[in-house]
């Protein structure tokens, strides 16, 4: 049971805001020089077929929903590998106005592969490290752990609801004080008039 997924995982690749350097190195891993396809590792375009999510480049406001959608659509167990220094921390573009930062700001990342551009050997090594994480997550799932409790398995819609609830509670807690302050200010203004 544990063998098929860790022997020939299918990957899905998304280009966050990379300069293409890491993207073509990801593709180079699949082609004859490095040829990971011989192990049955296939680059799929369908998130529901994928086990490993490779992200190159950092995230920005426009592509955050895309990254989250792909992540949410992938079945459990799943592993996220951040390829290149931009996906890790923002790299040379860290100070750009349109860069939010590394991919870990948006989805939980299991393996970081730094480098500018990350070399194919490093990318393959990163994916192999990811396989270990995948096996752990699968073992946890086999024991009957619920989806949501698998490390890294995290539903964004639920999370968003939770944060919204927490925020609402905070507001509710603060509300009496804030209301009192506001009332005091209004009273001062009235007195001034």
């Amino acid at each position: 049971m544990a063998s098929y997924i860790t022997k020939s995982p299918w990957i899905i690749h998304y280009d966050g805001s990379s300069c293409n350097g890491c993207d073509i190195e990801v593709l180079a891993c699949l082609t004859p020089m490095y040829d990971v396809e011989r192990f049955g590792i296939i680059n799929t375009g369908n998130p529901k077929h994928a086990d490993i999510f490779l992200v190159t480049g950092s995230v920005n406001e426009q592509n955050i929903p895309v990254v989250k959608q792909i992540y949410d659509q992938m079945p459990n167990p799943k592993v996220v590998v951040a390829i290149g220094i931009c996906a890790t921390s923002g790299g040379i573009f860290r100070e750009c106005y349109n860069i939010v930062g590394g991919v870990d700001q948006v989805v939980p990342v299991d393996v970081f592969v730094p480098g500018c551009a990350a070399r194919p050997e490093a990318i393959i090594d990163g994916v192999v490290k990811g396989l270990g994480v995948l096996a752990e997550k699968q073992a946890a799932l086999a024991k009957g752990v619920r989806d949501a409790e698998v490390p890294g398995a995290y539903k964004y819609e639920e999370a968003a609801e939770e944060t919204a609830e927490a925020a609402a509670e905070e507001i509710a807690e603060e509300a009496p004080e804030a209301a009192a302050e506001k009332a005091a200010e209004e009273r001062k203004e009235e007195e001034a008039v």
């Binding site: 280009d15 805001s17 293409n20 350097g21 190195e25 593709l27 799929t44």
Partner: protein
């Protein structure tokens, strides 16, 4: 009248490694209108000019695109050298030309592979990418990097290449030429390849000129606007003639790129034979002041580099205008009236580099 439907294409799509989004308005199976939207990769790197001193900025500009990175580095150096009136030593210009043409070969081979993948010819994709690794090996041996090189600097180069190494490169490229001839035969003569490309997405000469297309898209329609004709670098001394086709369809654009691979191999051969002796970098003193526009012929077409300095360590403005940006109107035009199944091929034949477009 058939009902209109909108089909979204991208940003995550199997045929393109890069995110671009198109809203395809279709009637039955025919595309009536295509509305592109970009901005998934915008980083705003031109603004980094305020945080990096101008000699360091070359490393940022190189990362406009990881495919034509050498060309971008050269383009930036060219505009600063023009700004400061620096005379670049001939050996540096020759080596720059060689690396730039190597970049063109690797970019075109990459594109030919992606095209083969788009029309479902998987083994052809694999073989083109196998040949591409030869070029990456040359890059790695001479510059130390596979896709990002950081070898160009204002005034010249950071690294020289020994003459023995150059002779070796010429030999490797001759071997590559033989191997690529086999593949070129498949691209240019195979019936199934022809049936997918010939007559698809025709762009006439007038349309190509009116829409301001550049690079192989323009040359596929017979429009000759190759910047290498102005003779920068070593092109004037190497006797450069652009490759032109007149049909204006996907097949013509493919033919232009296949011919350019052979042409680049020949150009590199001639550059190695004529390689001058001497320094590889000129002394650079002071800071750039004033404005300058440099032009480069990237693998995808003409790119502009504008710099404005005020005699300080930090430039006031850098502007890069990249070829894919100029070719998107032509893409929108050719998509109108095409079959939905041809969309991936049409998108690919402009050789979109979204990372360049949005920077």
């Amino acid at each position: 009248m058939a009902k209109r439907t909108i089909i979204p294409f991208g940003p995550q799509h199997p045929v393109l490694p890069e995110p671009i989004h198109l809203d395809l308005v279709i009637e039955d199976e025919r595309v009536v209108e295509a509305i592109p939207s970009i901005g998934y990769i915008h980083r705003g790197l031109e603004k980094l000019v305020e945080k990096n001193e101008w000699p360091e900025m070359v490393y940022v500009i190189e990362r406009v695109c990881g495919i034509c990175s050498f060309g971008h580095g050269w383009g930036y150096c060219k505009t600063i050298e023009g700004n400061m009136g620096i005379e670049v030593p001939p050996r540096a210009e020759y080596l720059r030309t060689i690396w730039h043409e190597l970049g063109r070969i690797h970019s075109h081979l990459l594109w030919l592979g992606l095209l083969a993948d788009a029309f479902g010819f998987e083994s052809l994709f694999m073989h083109t990418w196998r040949l591409r690794e030869t070029i990456l090996d040359i890059f790695e041996e001479t510059t130390g990097g596979r896709v990002i090189f950081s070898v160009c600097k204002v005034g010249g180069l950071r690294k020289d290449v020994a003459d023995e190494k150059l002779a070796e490169i010429a030999e490797t490229l001759n071997g590559l030429k033989k191997e690529f001839r086999e593949l070129a035969g498949v691209f240019l003569e195979d019936v199934s390849v022809k049936s997918r490309l010939a007559g698809v997405g025709v762009l006439s000469y007038d349309e190509a000129a009116a829409l301001g297309t550049v690079g192989p898209v323009a040359r596929g329609s017979g429009l000759n606007n190759d910047v290498r004709l102005d003779g920068h670098g070593a092109y004037a001394e190497l006797g450069f003639e652009p490759c032109l086709e007149t049909d204006g369809d996907c097949y013509a654009r493919c033919k232009v790129r296949v011919r350019e691979v052979f042409q680049s191999i020949d150009l590199i051969g001639r550059a190695i034979a004529k390689m001058p002796e001497g320094e590889i970098a000129a002394a650079v003193k002071g800071n750039p002041a004033g404005e300058f526009v440099g032009r480069m012929e990237q693998p995808r077409g003409e790119a502009y580099y504008y710099s404005k300095g005020a005699g300080a360590k930090f430039l006031e403005r850098i502007r890069v205008r990249t070829p894919t940006n100029a070719n998107i109107p032509a893409l929108v035009k050719t998509l109108q009236g095409c079959d939905l199944a041809d969309v991936p091929i049409l998108v690919l034949t402009i050789d979109p580099c979204i990372s360049c477009t949005e920077r």
